[in-house]
Structures are given as C-alpha cells and as structure tokens.
Symmetry: none
Subunit: 213 residues, 4 copies
C-alpha cells in the first residue's frame, strides 16, 4: 500500500495527461457522463482528439484512471485521520465523515465517476482497483468493533454500522452534488446536521446519569 510516486514521472508527458484528467472531471460535472466525449475533452484542452490516445488507450481506460485517481485522493484525505492515534473513536468517526463529505464537495467529478455512475458503465473496471476504497470501510468497521468492545459504540454488527454510515454520507453528498436539495437550505447546515445524526446514531450518548450524581 504505497501512495502514487508521482514525482518519478517524466514531466513533459505528464502535463497533458493531467490536463486531460482535470478537464474530464470538469466536463463530467458540467455536462454529465452521457455527454462526455473524447472530442470534447480534446477541444477543451486545445489538443487533437488523437493526442488523448497517447496517454489513455481508450475512453474506458481514461475513466478507469479517473476512478483510480479519485480513490487515491480520497485515501490521502482519510488515511491520516484513521492513523491519528490521538483521536478517540467518536472524534475519529466525525472527522472521517467530514473529510468524506468535503472530498465530495471539492471533487464532484471524482465523486460522480466513483460512486454515482451506473456500474454497468464501469463494469469493466478491474474490481481490484477498488480494494483501497473498500479497505476504508474495513478500517471503519474495525473502529466500530473496538468501540463496541470499549463500550462507546452502540452494539451492532460493526460492518453493517460502517456501511450504513457510509450510505448516510453518500446520501448527502450525492444529493448536494446533483443539486437536488431545496436551494433555500444551507449546505453547511445540512452537512453538519447529517454528520451529527450519523455520529450520534453510532455512539452511546454521554449519560446524563453522570450529571445527576
């Protein structure tokens, strides 16, 4: 599990590659997957369509690269949180939630292609590349597992808990990205509320009984 060694690449070549990926994400957000085309990408970056094939064997592979990149960016954001030994489970989960949502907000292009796009479109994506992403759920599960042991997490199948937590975050992120919420509502308030509820629903509430003593 080593991060991408992007600094060992040859620079000149990489510039265009980067442009393609960046532009693809922009187009993805702006116009949706159905109208993402090699031509449009090429036009957007001022290169010929053929040039894209110097860096990606096919449209499929380009999309796969986007996913791989997205996963890696997400990992880079979440791993330090998981690794932060100073955090208690509740804080850790809260931070994970916030980072996940922030990732979606900042990278709607990645998010869409990673999690929203119809899986059939992506079925050819080698499942293994999602291993990293799935490992996140595993780490979350084990956080809950330990939390249950130490009594701070409400007992329940930790894998279920982790997946439901994920689904809750995915719910807000995807609806925000798709612009489905009433525009009158404040994004930040929605997010804060969603995270609060999610966390609260996992952890035992600080017992007022202590106060009453």
């Amino acid at each position: 599990m080593h991060p991408i060694n992007s600094e060992i690449r040859k620079a000149p070549d990489d510039d265009l590659r980067r442009s393609i990926l960046v532009t693809s994400r922009e187009l993805l957000v702006r116009e949706g997957y159905s109208s993402l085309s090699m031509r449009k990408i090429a036009r957007s970056i001022g290169y010929s369509a053929t040039s894209i094939y110097l860096h990606f064997k096919s449209k499929d592979q380009l999309v796969h690269a986007l996913i791989t990149e997205g996963v890696s960016v997400l990992m880079k954001r979440l791993r330090p949180v998981f690794d932060d030994v100073k955090l208690n489970p509740k804080e850790l989960v809260r931070r994970i939630c916030h980072e996940y949502v922030k990732f979606g907000m900042n990278n709607p292009g990645y998010y869409e292609i990673m999690y929203v796009l119809h899986p059939e479109t992506l079925s050819r994506y080698p499942e293994d590349n999602y291993r990293d992403a799935r490992s996140l759920i595993d780490r979350l599960s084990s956080v809950f597992e330990k939390g249950i042991e130490s009594g701070v997490v409400i007992p329940s199948d930790p894998r279920v808990t982790a997946n439901v937590l994920w689904s809750q975050m995915h719910g807000v992120v995807s609806l925000i990205i798709a612009g489905r919420f009433d525009r009158a509502l404040d994004r930040e308030v929605l997010i804060q509320d969603a995270v609060d509820r999610a966390v609260r629903s996992c952890f035992v509430s600080p017992e007022p009984s202590l106060d009453s003593i």
Copy 2:
C-alpha cells in the same frame, strides 16, 4: 369528414406505450442512462424505432413520462401513509422510510431516472412536475414540526431534518441499486439498520428509567 379525435383512444394502443415504458426502465437498470437509445428500446420490444414516436414525441418526452410515472407511483405508496391518522409520528416516519426504500428496490428504473440521473441531462424536465415529489418533503417537514411541538421529535429545523432523513434513505437505496455494498451483507439487515438509525436520530428516545423512578 371528421378530424382526428385523439381522446377517445382505447387499450390496444396503450399496450405498446406500456411496453416502451417498462422496457425503458429495464434498460435503464441494466445498462444505465448513457446507453439508453430509442433504437435499443425498439429492438428490445421487437418494434421499429419509428413506432416509439407514435407514443412519444421525442426521447426527452419519453424520459419525462418515466419521471412523471415514477413520481406518481411513489406518491401512491407514500400518500396513504401520510394520511393514516392512526399513526403516531414515529410510526409514520418509520413507515415512510420503509415505503420509500421499498419503492426504490421495486422500481430501480424509476428511481434512477428520478433521483440518480445527472440533473443536466434532465434540465429540460418541467420543474413543476416535481412539485408532487417536493410536496413529500414538505409533508415530512410538517410531521416533524408538529412532533417538535408535542415534544416527541428532537428540536431542530424541521425542513433540515426532513431533508437529511431523505438523504439517508437515498443513500441506502442508491448504493443498493448500484450494487455498491459488499455482497456479503444482507440487504434487509442494511435497510432495517439504516431506517432504525434514521428514525432514532429524529425522535427523543423513550426514557423509561426516568418515568419508572
């Protein structure tokens, strides 16, 4: 010599219309929106592409019809629940959640085109037709509003609460439909857990301990 009188249509005609809508939803689920084409729909039902145009003026209109139908089916499921005076708020919300999820499970085609599709694709869909769908959120909000007054719902902006609840359900439904969860997990367990948490996070927990003292 009378001109066309199109409103006296009968069943035979509508059969094909139904086939088209049903098949569209199947294709939508199987292959995703980006590869949904008039030709494929036609091929799937064993008709010529031209025939579709006898029932839908354009692909846009077909999609709009799907959305409208989907909304109406969803309404038919949820309205009785909202109107059931015998339900207390908590039961009502729980039932609403379950019905919503069930709708998604039973009608993934409708669900995808209603809630998952990139909005840019559907921007031409007359906003008004979503009014029904949005009214659902409003009804949910007022359930929470009254619940707060009567002390059973944890105080919070009811509209935010309603929207976050929706997002939580959307999260499970969309990830299940997309087949993103670990296949080892039991769907029903996931759903039950998600609904439980959602409901719990809205309503004050019955604290028998206090009462019993």
Copy 3:
C-alpha cells in the same frame, strides 16, 4: 380542349381534396418544396396522413395534380385574352404579360411548382400535361407571326420572340416570389417597367417622324 368540369364531382369527397391542394400550396410558399411533407399537409388540415392517400396515390401524384391545376388556372386567365378579337397585337401582348405576372403574384404556390422547381423533381410528370402550357407559347408565337406580317412587330423568329418574352416575365415573377429584389423597390413599378420594356422590345415604335411630316 375543354376546361375541367369540376361541378360534376361529388361534393363531400372534393372538399378534402381541395383542402389538401390549397394547403400544399400554402406550405410550398411558406416553407419551400424541400420541407413539404405529407405529414405536414395532413397536420395543417387536421386530417390523418393516411387520408391524403384517399385522394392522391402518392406525393408525386399530388404534385402533379398541383401542376395540372396550376396550368389550368393559368389557361383560364390567358385564354380569354388570346381570344379577345377586339385587341390589337400590342394590346394583346401587353395584357398577356400582365395576366401572367398577376397569376404568379396571386398563386406563388402554383407558380413555384410549375416553373421554379427543379425539373428532376418533376421529371416523372407526364410531359403531355404541359401541352396546354406550351400551347400558350405557340399562340403567342402566332400573334407575333401575324404581327410581323402586318408590320407592327419587329421582324425576328416569332418563336424566339415569344420564348424570350416569356423568359422576361418569368424573370420578374420568380425574383419577386423569391423575395430577391431590394425591398425598397415598389413591386408594381418593377412589374410595369418590365412589361413596358418587354412589349416595347417587340413592337415597332410609333414613329413620330411620320406624324411630324
């Protein structure tokens, strides 16, 4: 050579037939031949496309009917002039010119399909049906022939003269119908001038020198 006995037709049937022809001409003028379609015609008159086929075997035949009708209308306008024994040659030609132009102005649909449309489109039109139209040129030729004999027409091949006269009138009519002239110019002035020149170029000018002697 008998005119169409349109009053012996059965009425009910004829109404629709008339509507089709009238509407076709309107569409022809408004949108041009390339976008004249059976469907549009049907839609315009509030009938089904199929109904048109009760009266015309094909689009070709409809067009042919339009031509035949157009020719017959033109004949009805010009024949009385040719037959008017009270007119001297010069007056006759002048009147013929004016009637021809008037026909074009009043029936741009007929005119376009009779004289402007690309002949390939019409190649299947039985040449014989143009016999009437061509007979007009013949009659004009013989007017010139006699005029030359009696010394009022400038000597020249009468058939050439007749055809060139026709082409001159066709020039104004077609450019007016196509809206090609500078809009600042007055139609009537253009027409008058064109006819004057045409007539003048055929007939010997009344020589003032004779009078002055």
Copy 4:
C-alpha cells in the same frame, strides 16, 4: 506540446474540400436541392459521410460555402467589365449581360443555389455575404444613372432599370438551366435575342435617319 495550428494547412487537405464542393454542385444540378444529402455527396466522391464534417461543420455551412464561392466567381467575371474604362455604357451593359448569362450556363450549380433556391431554405445564410452580389446591382444602377445624364440611356429610375435588366437575364438563365425551353430552339440564339432586347430597351436607339437627313 503545441496546440493545434490550423492555419498552416496545405494542399492535400484542400483536395477533398474541393471535391465536396464540386460534387455538391453537380448533384444540385442533377437532382435538385431537396435531394441533396451529405450521404449522397459522400457516396459520390467515394468517402464516408463523416469525412465531409472534417471540412464543413454542417450542411448549412457547406451550402453557405457554395453560395460564397458562387458569388466570388461571379464577381471575378463581372468586376473587370465594370472596371473597363474603355467601354461605353452600352457596350458595358451588353458585356455584363453576356458574362452573367455565361456564368449561369457554366455554373448551373452555383446559379441554382445562389438565385433559384427557395429563400426560406437559405434564411440562415448571413445576409452580409450577399453584399458583394448586391453591389453589382448598385454598380449597374450607377452606370445607368450616368448614362441618363449623358443622354444615352432612356430616362427612368436607374435602380428600377438595373433590377429589371437583372430579372430579364435571370429569366433566360433560369429557364435554360431548368431545361424549360423548347429543345428545338437554339440556346445561343435565345440568349443573343434576350440580351439584344434587354440592351435595346435601356438605351436610346441611334437614329441614323435624323443624321442622314
């Protein structure tokens, strides 16, 4: 890594472009505008339909290119005549007429798309591109204007005279191209006669009788 530099194009590329334009004109003459299709053009030149789009963004643009080319060819023929200071007005007008007709005879494709086509079809053609063509009428007008001042042209509104002259030439050209004249008539004779009449109808006849007395 340089972006596209399209202005450094060379010949090889332009060959196909020329073929397309030439073939389009041929098809236009042979089958008329209503049946001119990208596919037919492509088939005629032995290329795929897609290839046409490498040179013309749309069918509209192709047609516009044809018009623009046609106008420019016509200009190239007429301008030298207008600019020829050695010509007296009568000779100039006669030469203009002959060149105009010759242009039509040699370029029926251009002529049809420039002057015969139903204007509705071309309404999207930027009016400005016709400026050149319209300037021709203006130059003709001023020839007549000066001619009237110097007494060689029969007094009349010069703009009307110019337009009517144009319509006379258009009459012959369009009927010849459409093959409407009796095939027994000699084209050249018709043209000569038409031009003679046109010129004669504008200029005062040299009255030798007066001089000879």
